[in-house]
């Protein structure tokens, strides 16, 4: 870790590149936090707050960048679960370590304008990976609901998917995150207002009780996704779909994430893209109310 010790201060100073998703936590007055999980490439910190985001990922440069991450300039500190910490007043403090943001990155970079015909062409390159929930009825319901425009099916499926699957980021959450980010960002890029509208509904449904239905980390990630915030790997696939680069390499990097996380996110992106294309071909997004 890049540290500069100062003779008169007991703190060890470190810096990192922070997602603007966690800026509200860092800028707020100092609050207590604790280490939720620790692993060689970093740690997750849970801040005592009843608002989201509540979990910050502290990650070594090589690690997958989550939308709530601070990338450390150097090796991550050695931490154990339960380690006391604090977050706020511009810094993360862990014992003697004081960590500040030396740059900010945007987890929801705008895609610009995208043309639906180009999107349709690019979407052909969206090969499925090996998502954990392949064949899961709730996912099929989500996909058919999004494609055919039945809000009730979409929300019913989403309710069932929150927290579904093992691990810190259950597969159901990853599918929903991929879907919400895609609807919001590609919907805006193609001018498919109803995709954004559907993203709003999903966001409200999914974030409503995420904190009690899934892990704290996953709840924060769902909250981020509801705002269109995602890891750079997801953003890169969306950028490629919007016609700003080749799809294949971006998709390959996404599929490489986590155990099945990448493929689960890609599954959600696929559902989202088909939905956005369906909205585009329906024409004007003027009257979202008739979407039932």
């Amino acid at each position: 870790m890049t540290v500069g010790t100062r003779a008169r201060r007991p703190h060890v100073h470190a810096t990192g590149a922070a997602s603007t998703a966690v800026r509200p936590l860092l800028d707020a007055p100092r609050r207590a936090a604790r280490v939720l999980a620790a692993f060689p490439a970093g740690a997750y910190l849970q801040v005592r707050t009843d608002r989201e985001p509540s979990v910050i990922a502290l990650l070594a440069p090589g690690a997958t960048r989550l939308p709530n991450a601070v990338l450390l300039a150097g090796e991550p500190p050695r931490l154990t679960v339960g380690h006391e910490a604090s977050v706020g007043d511009g810094a993360v403090r862990l014992g003697r370590l004081s960590l500040r943001a030396s740059r900010w990155w945007d987890p929801a970079p705008p895609l610009g304008e995208a043309d639906p015909a180009g999107l349709r062409e690019a979407a052909a390159g969206l090969t499925p990976g090996e998502p954990a929930l392949a064949g899961e009825p709730a996912v099929e319901l989500l996909a058919s609901g999004c494609a055919s425009g039945r809000l009730l099916d979409v929300l019913t499926a989403a309710e069932r998917l929150v927290g579904l699957g093992p691990g810190l980021t259950p597969s159901g959450d990853d599918v929903l995150a991929g879907l919400m980010v895609t609807l919001r960002l590609l919907g805006a890029a193609t001018g498919a207002g109803r995709a954004v509208w559907l993203a709003d509904w999903l966001a409200a449904t999914v974030t409503y009780d995420a904190r009690t239905r899934t892990t704290p980390l996953s709840a924060t990630l769902l909250h981020c996704a509801a705002l269109g915030q995602a890891s750079p790997e997801v953003a890169a696939v969306l950028r490629a779909l919007a016609g700003r680069g080749p799809v294949e390499p971006a998709l390959r990097r996404l599929h490489g994430l986590g155990h099945t996380s990448g493929s689960d996110l890609a599954q959600g992106i696929g559902i989202g893209v088909r939905s956005v294309l369906a909205f585009c071909s329906q024409g004007s997004p003027s009257s979202s109310g008739d979407y039932t």
Partner: protein, 487 residues
Amino acid sequence: MSSAAGEAAVLVRAGVYHDSVALMRVSRALSDLPGMDVALVAMATELNLAMARDLGFTPPPAGPADLLVALRGRDVAAAERELDRLLAALSSAPGSSSYGMAGAEGPAPRTTRSAAARAGEDAGVALVSVPGEHVLPEAVDAIEAGLDVMIFSDGVPVRQEVLLKRLAAERGVLVMGPDCGTAVIAGVGLGFANVLRPGPVGVVAASGTGAQQVTSLLDLAGAGVSHVLGVGGRDLSREVGGLSAVRALRLLDEDPATELIVLVSKPPDPEAARAVQEVVESLRTPVVPALTGRDDLTEAAERALRTLGAPVPVWPSWPAPARRSPKPGAVKGLYAGGTLCAEAAAIVAARPGAEPGAFVAAGPGAEPGARHGSGSGEFVDFGDDAYTRGRPHPMIDPALRLDALARVGPDEVALLDVVLGHGADPDPAASLAPAVARCPAAAVVVALVGTEGDPQGLHRQAAAFREAGASVFVSNAQAARYARDLR
């Protein structure tokens, strides 16, 4: 030179190379040893050899690829041991592994060409800060490898600049510089750059400190910045014709994150201005010009905010009363940023009742340290080539400005800029604030350019200068007006 007590040694280490900033740190560490009078550790350039001779040493024959060490003090042997330790530490730092220390990756790449090959597809930008006469090969490497390149160095001949920019146009990459102090790419600060929140404003800048002023104000106002693309101070000259500005404008126009472009420049050459204007008119993204000398940078930032539909805040300032009444308009400007210097000089010169041209702004071509008749403003840009040849930029090394502060007259107002951010002095107030407190001037006014997110912390720095008795402004234009109008 003074006949120093103790021993003296002057030696040359052939073929040992380190950059001037690293060596300055070594020199300083050696000077700080107890009983050391003089410690000069520098590459044996003509300039440094002359400096050694001025210091009373007789250096042996040596060339710019050799390390020159001149020591005088109580325990020269101890200083040499410390020198060896410091140089060894430099050599073992990442990136300076030498030929014999090949790791798994092999020795560190020796040219930008091989570094670009090693970085592979990931590489995006090359940041070149080697001495000006050696820039061309590294920059050509970067362009031929398809990298955009920022040239921090000054002293690159203008023909080479034009050549590089033409090559870049053929390869479809951007050359930022030469003499480009500031760039920010998707939040990544290159050179002197502030910690900015991401947002909709893209900046094309022919002036580094000008861009830092505009973006810092935007950040303070809560408006974010997408990218800052420097183009170098000469880009909008007749010879270069705005080659990089045009390309940078197009890049930002295509960038989905950028909704508004601010173009920061000195008033351009008319022909270059026409070329740029033509491109500006073809863009979908609105462009707010900030031409120093015509607009002040603060007004430009405010115009950008209004164009975005964002509120214009009251810019933070902490005025302090003058210690005594200054002679009206007797402002001594001690600047690190050239554009900030020119802006302040113009504002002070516009003092009601002042005779036109009653100030001197030492800039390119002007006599360094030129003085003008008493009672009028006098501005010195310590970042100018005339002062930075053979020594680090004043944003890194405060020595020259510390001297100058001590020499301001008791009936004058000292006006200085302090620029925060990456690359700059990690704590400028630590050296400058005590000099401000001791400064004999009737008043000291500080234009503090930076953001709260900067490593130095805007408010921490402001507090230190306030405690030293200075008035502090985040707007350079406001600082200059305040200094001009002090009674």
